[in-house]
Subunit: 359 residues, 4 copies
């Protein structure tokens, strides 16, 4: 096996000690295109080694290469021109803007800029053309760099399953109820007393995010803006005692009435830009159809396709809305760090990363 | 406090050693109107004391009075004229019919006869008049006794919350996703490997039951039959690692658009026959409105109103269907044994139990 | 039943909004001797009603009488002369001392003063005579009031089971491994990500507490001091995903070799001062022997005897140490709030509360 | 990377559809020395494809190569000369004997023959020389094949951690309390109602297995028999709501008093035959010392060293027995299927497999 040695793109992770930050560090370990050159976090952690500053909560060991990195403050000056942001929304806004202004490509998992008119909310299989907002953003804001975002964790799973339906049949209405994992709330996140043997039928701000972000992602870029999909989306969100994996029960009304088999076929055959270009983190099947009446299940299925697919099961007719099905996705991989990395791969392939920071 | 001593009505429990059977035995302990005179179960258990035959799984001790009862075979000949059936659906059909033919009032939690035209599917706050099917049933089948049923556990919780809306505003459509507790599957029921840290997005037959039973209960008795409610009901059902308490996320379209406050008011003020007559097991509030954005929760709230109410929270407008809310109920109390006991209380108050078995 | 109306003793709870504080408020509701006259907490909560300041996490509703109490600062001036302290150890030390100096009887669940030479570490069934340290304490410290403590939650369960063995046979050595519930860590306490589907084999400071406190409680008061029991106690402590109830696996070497039956008999017949005097919170059986090979279990048994007993099962010979058994106790009732209330009842019965604050 | 193509040894798995059987099939997928040539199970499954007969419960997909294998009856006639037995103890005895008599090398995870005088109970790092019982067994029983066993799941974890201590310092006494995962009970195994939010302080037969098997494995082969280690072992076993990974809290008295550092060093430097010979399934560190006060933890650590190591933490002095520590192991890998496969690798390397079935 020959191996062309190409210099990897240096990247940094902001908010690297948190739950999503750790997932970035894990997924970037051994990445063929990107090299983790720096980790940044709050003042409290800065100056300590990553091994020392971070209470690692993933079930694989901390990557050796990351252990000795010294945690930096989350401000421009980090090596490279690409940063992944796992910052908390309480601080992400101005920090990410400062990096973009300083010429960095900011791949953000934070909610702060997702709904801004000139910020792409990207899902590479669904709306790769929305990257066209990047020049708009730079022009408007006078930035050398830019901010590109990935959706909220539950939206990420949902929208990947809706995309093949929208593309083939159009979507008129969606009612969705989520059963979300505890890792979605970060660390320390949910107190154990609140969730062991329990369901919490509320997640602050989550329903609004699903309803808004889904329509933006499935919307059409026209000129300098995205027109949201003209569909009604209504969500109810709950927390369940599952470690990783957001499940959603979806009711959907399509633009046509294609029949259950055609819906299944649309899921099964769905492919997008990441698959066509062979992006390193692309799942083979962005929507993986599960066999078995009782699938997908988080404990058994969440790591299929390395956590990068939406797993769909129980597709059936709905007497009220037309169709109903179950979808499951890995909330800290496809729903967070993995999504941002796939976005970076898309933008690298499209030449946006090379241009970041160039004078 | 003076106490008129009235002879209690002797009752028996069929399937007394199972999960629902145990709940019957627990709830009948100290009941003011009924006295547990016999327990019956499969051949395997018959002849042993209840203490010996039953692997008790409730978190209060087995009632002293029940411990020494000798388990009987589940066939007519049991003392009294009232039997509660917690039998498995695989055997309940003919056994319950034999008891009814022999003159017993059969209060059944099994699914077998629920949808029969001449069998009432009763929820005392909702459709007490459906007891009017009992004389029809007796006439048609030539029985001295009768069978009256209570709904499936998730339907029981849902329908109690839908009733005030139907009564005030009419209901056109319901989409519901349930998050059901493991005790709903009986014992041994769900293997731990299937549910610890997991969600199972399928419960055999459950969605059909919710869709059918809800419409029958909310339907109108006209002449000798019930015309189901002309509304569309669509359900998705899941199992979650909760011990007791089925949660449901409900989307509903009403006949009018009364506004969120009127919907809340309808829940809050809902009362029915059990409350008016002061039936012993009647909850004070059949629908208990929960304060707090993140309520109801099974671990904290399931025992409110002694497990006999539907707990409703998060009532809000839905951009798609009009209204959405969360409802929680105790699946083995209001969803099973408690429901059958409340039915028996209603029928006792209405004189149906006295007539059972009369020649 | 005649009922002499006696004025109840006014009591206050310090740290009333926390997990143990809530349990105090719950257990004091309807208490025959004590009346909850005030709740106190940190500056952050002071001035708000208890209903407003407290995120109630128990599975019974907040007592009506407590809802409208205005939260006070935790400093002398509270009504009455008795305070229960559920304060965090980080602040309990000087606050409790200030109350004692100001004439209050302080019944403390905090660890701060437990091991002080002149502070009783009381378990009413085991060492009621250690209350004799109270006059010593007052004399030495010049206090009108006093501090009396109850043990750490896991010690409380263990020592109640060891007491009958020490009394009858003497104890030479104990090796104990605990499996502790999440409520033992308060709220927010353990992050869900740390414990769902997991075991954490470490609880800071817990092993030392068990080893020291057990020996003090089982020790002998001689003159002005307690001589700890001359036994070796070694503990390993773990956290498991259980809501309430600390389980312990105990290996014990006795002073004699009485045989398993005699050990069981010692457990079964154990009674103490609370039972003899009929203290309101006294369990009928301070050690409740559980039948069944696989008991006690937290989910099924933790509320036996209203959470005030140690539940013992699986008593058997040990090839290494002589005997081994399982013990379970309710960590926030007998292991915290209930223990302090029982201590208060003992001291009330002994006249210590009347004297608190007298000039 | 060059690759010498050597014909792999054909192997079969008995009891292939159960929980341990599935783990065998998973671990044998891609094994460098062994090729899964057949799966066998009960009559009920025989004749169906493995994909059809098996309700796969692992969190990786069923290996493609296994899906189309037709399930065979568990009787001699299977291809190859090596069988792994994941049979239930209720049937394993005579079936395994029939295979051994017919010339197969039987690598058994069942308990039936473990304690037989002429059957090796092998842990390759600990007692590889016990394979010397194989010729004894063949001679005595007149078999062409043989049976070699691996220990019970909790013993496997414990003994690997005790071995370095026994080798360096000698062991006099062990008191151990286990916290065992639900997968240890197979499928369906533990009912969810018994373990969600609960601890069950009893596992039938488990304590006796730990006490006996540990002493046999650490014993010395002398002539035709193993003299068990002259140490006292006492166990208490509990079940906790963890999916995979048995934790044990160990108290141990050594033959000398080497100090905590020397004990840690013994763990850290422990290696055995599998490491020296580079057996394919050998962990790099058979005992992996975990850093961090609160480790090892099943959710985070159980897959370290591919589930083949005992993970040790919290090594410290014990006032009673000398030393205490926590150990964790993967109960269906090192505690079952992985153990049997490592045994097969050892015996292959030692030439025992080649000779199985030779005339």
């Amino acid at each position: 096996m020959t191996k062309t040695v190409v210099a990897k793109t240096k990247v940094a992770v902001l908010g690297a000690t948190g739950a999503v930050g750790q997932r970035f560090v894990q997924l970037l370990d051994g990445h063929p295109w990107f090299e983790l050159a720096a980790v940044a976090a709050s003042e409290r952690s800065a100056g300590r080694t990553y091994a020392d500053a971070c209470s690692w909560k993933l079930d694989t060991p901390m990557p050796e290469a990351a252990r000795s990195l010294v945690v930096q403050p989350a401000e421009p000056g980090l090596p490279g021109r690409v940063v992944f942001s796992a910052l908390d929304a309480a601080v992400a806004g101005p920090v990410e803007e400062a990096f973009a202004a300083a010429g960095y490509a900011v791949l953000s998992n934070a909610r702060n800029h997702r709904m801004a008119d000139d910020v792409p909310l990207l899902v590479p299989e669904v709306n790769p053309d929305h990257a066209g907002l990047i020049p708009v953003q730079r022009r408007r804001r006078g930035w050398k760099g830019f901010i590109a975002t990935n959706p909220n964790c539950s939206t990420a799973t949902l929208v990947l399953a809706l995309a093949p339906l929208e593309r083939r049949f159009g979507i008129k209405a969606v009612a969705v109820t989520t059963l979300q994992a505890i890792s979605g709330a970060g660390y320390p996140g949910i107190p154990a007393l609140d969730i062991v043997g329990n369901v919490v039928p509320f997640i602050a701000g989550e329903e609004e995010k699903i309803e808004r972000e889904t329509r933006k992602i499935l919307g059409a870029l026209a000129g300098d803006a995205v027109a949201p999909l003209a569909a009604v989306v209504s969500a109810q969100t709950t927390r369940v005692p599952v470690v990783d994996g957001h499940t959603a029960a979806v009711f959907v009304t399509l633009g046509t009435d294609p029949g259950v088999e055609a819906v299944r076929e649309a899921f099964r055959t769905f492919r997008g830009t990441p698959q066509q270009r062979g992006l390193p983190s692309a799942p083979q099947h962005p929507v993986l159809m599960m066999e078995g009446d009782d699938r997908p299940q988080p404990r058994l299925d969440v790591n299929r396709e390395r956590g990068m697919a939406s797993l769909v099961g129980r597709v059936r007719a709905c007497p009220l809305m037309g169709y109903k099905f179950i979808v499951l996705g890995h909330n800290t991989i496809r729903g967070a760090a993995g999504a941002a990395i796939l976005n970076a791969e898309l933008l690298q392939a499209d030449g946006y990363l090379a241009s970041a920071g160039s004078d």
